[in-house]
Symmetry: C3
């Protein structure tokens, strides 16, 4: 083996190892993001985003750090924690994060990833004896299809796409989710001071309607594109 | 350091890095398999299997791609989705996948892995106002002890062993699972057109009986075999 | 490129790859620990610990292997499994483990890690028709902030810090957790034959009070320390 061969093998190792380090860094970033939002640490959650980020959330798009701050630090903080950056008595919003599929681009500057969470959320009766039905206590299963960007060697969230699959009360379960249980975004900023910058050009379906969030990757064995099946929606009963 | 030393170190790095890449590829494969079955994308799930695969499922063994297709694309599709390859209105079968323990053989051609899932499944009342008790809505905790094989550089599922630990209705919970709540496979193909190729030579215990699915690996600290304790079954009350 | 350059690059690769192998080993160790405690394999769980370990559990500290054995092999085995090392009929304590954030020290001799679990636990009615409210069936969300040490190339648990976030009955949910639902440790060994060696110098808050378990790491993007917000506790209603 010549020196040139050896040098080339070392270069290949550096590239391949770098890819695995990137996967590790992105999993770690998303897991920490999850721990932050669990504890209403919204400043820290926004700190995970790139300046040019966008967030897709219940049919709205929040753009850039100003949009991220509006969603987390203004909207969530107003709705959930009486303005505090941190946990409050009797309010829980746990988001266990799971099932990563992280794919880094060959130039190692961007990445795409699918994750999921299964949420336990609600309000203890000592905090509020009479919350609304949904805010009493609920389960929520959701997917993410996110994008990441590396700036000066640090991975940041470029695009967070949170897509609920099902939401239900603790008491009744997913077999009895009322129609259109959780509202979608309808009003943009500044008409809604906590609203998104724009509405999505698609309408996320809500359980019991059922659709596939498109996969960012090809099939892991066949290498073919993963074709998104049509949604399993039913005619409206009007 | 001589050139020979350096070359040997590079070779060792290639082997060790390859092992980690294999672990990453197998986690990714299992996680994608999980996303596919969530959405009733049974063609894509079968696409994850090797030609010489086997599937252990509720006391039956499905062999080869023909067996896999019979289970997913014939049986599940008939039972769950009215023949569609994809999600349907008001039916959910979410399988969050977790807690990987992936071990690759030194020759990097095969691997064994333990995973688990915690399922949310059922039928919305708008789809079927009167499902059976079990199909209304249920929780299911289960383990996997799977085998994998690498063919032309691509990891495939060689053996999927799905072992439920507990199953219960959403309403009543695991403290009140009825005896023999979910039936085991009893009839093979072709007597049952969706049946397995053969029955297992063991009978998986069903909660509230309680057994250990044997571990594929040795103890991570002591390096000794992990001895499978006897099941925690009770005498039948006949 | 000179030979010296190449040698340095190989050395850097060895260090970086070693770090990723350590992360993998620690995830694997914690996941196996989780599978062991699920199945009441307390000997195997204790086998994951270092001789100089400590365990923080509900306000008590168990020290060394003697303390670990007292907690798992004496206490848990007495309370849960009638002395058996393994699963028993009608008792479940499933701990799905998730959301790892594993950080290895530069010398690769120690590591810190955050994990979480979401537990399904309880007693089937055929085992005990009249358990206490809490032991009938419960959900439990908890965090870990653990420490690890490498001895002769093998990673072991140096410090396990288990911190419940919320506990509730299956029937009533986290909105209705009674005050001080689960007791903290109050009596040390040997006054309590299963008690801890000492009590913690902090009192873990119990839901509906709500605090942040401090993070072992800096913010993944800003690199700044993650400041622990004050707990969200409310004045007692006496």
């Amino acid at each position: 083996m010549s020196d040139d061969d050896l040098r080339q093998r070392v270069e290949e190792l550096e590239q391949r190892l770098g890819m695995l380090e990137d996967v590790h860094a992105i999993r770690r970033l998303h897991h920490l993001y999850g721990y932050f939002i669990d504890k209403c640490m919204y400043d820290e959650a926004v700190g995970c985003y790139d300046e040019e980020c966008e967030i897709h959330f219940f049919g709205g798009i929040f753009r850039g750090l100003a949009g991220a701050r509006r969603m987390y630090c203004d909207g969530f903080r107003n709705r959930f924690t009486d303005g505090k950056n941190g946990p409050v008595f009797g309010f829980i919003l746990d988001h266990p994060q799971m099932q990563d599929v992280v794919d880094v681009s060959p130039d190692r500057k961007t990445a795409l990833a699918r994750f999921r969470c299964m949420m336990q959320a609600g309000t203890h009766y000592e905090r509020n004896p009479n919350p609304t039905s949904i805010s009493r206590q609920w389960w929520e299963g959701a997917l993410y299809e996110n994008g990441y960007i590396k700036r000066d060697g640090v991975w940041k969230i470029k695009m967070l796409n949170y897509r609920p699959v099902w939401i239900c009360t603790f008491e009744n379960g997913w077999a009895f989710t009322p129609p259109e249980f959780v509202p979608l975004q309808t009003t943009t900023y500044p008409d809604d001071p906590y609203g998104p910058d724009e509405l999505t050009d698609y309408t996320p379906l809500r359980w019991p309607e059922h659709e596939v969030l498109p996969f960012h990757c090809v099939h892991p064995v066949t290498g073919k594109p993963i074709v998104t099946p049509p949604p399993g929606s039913a005619p409206r009963r009007d």
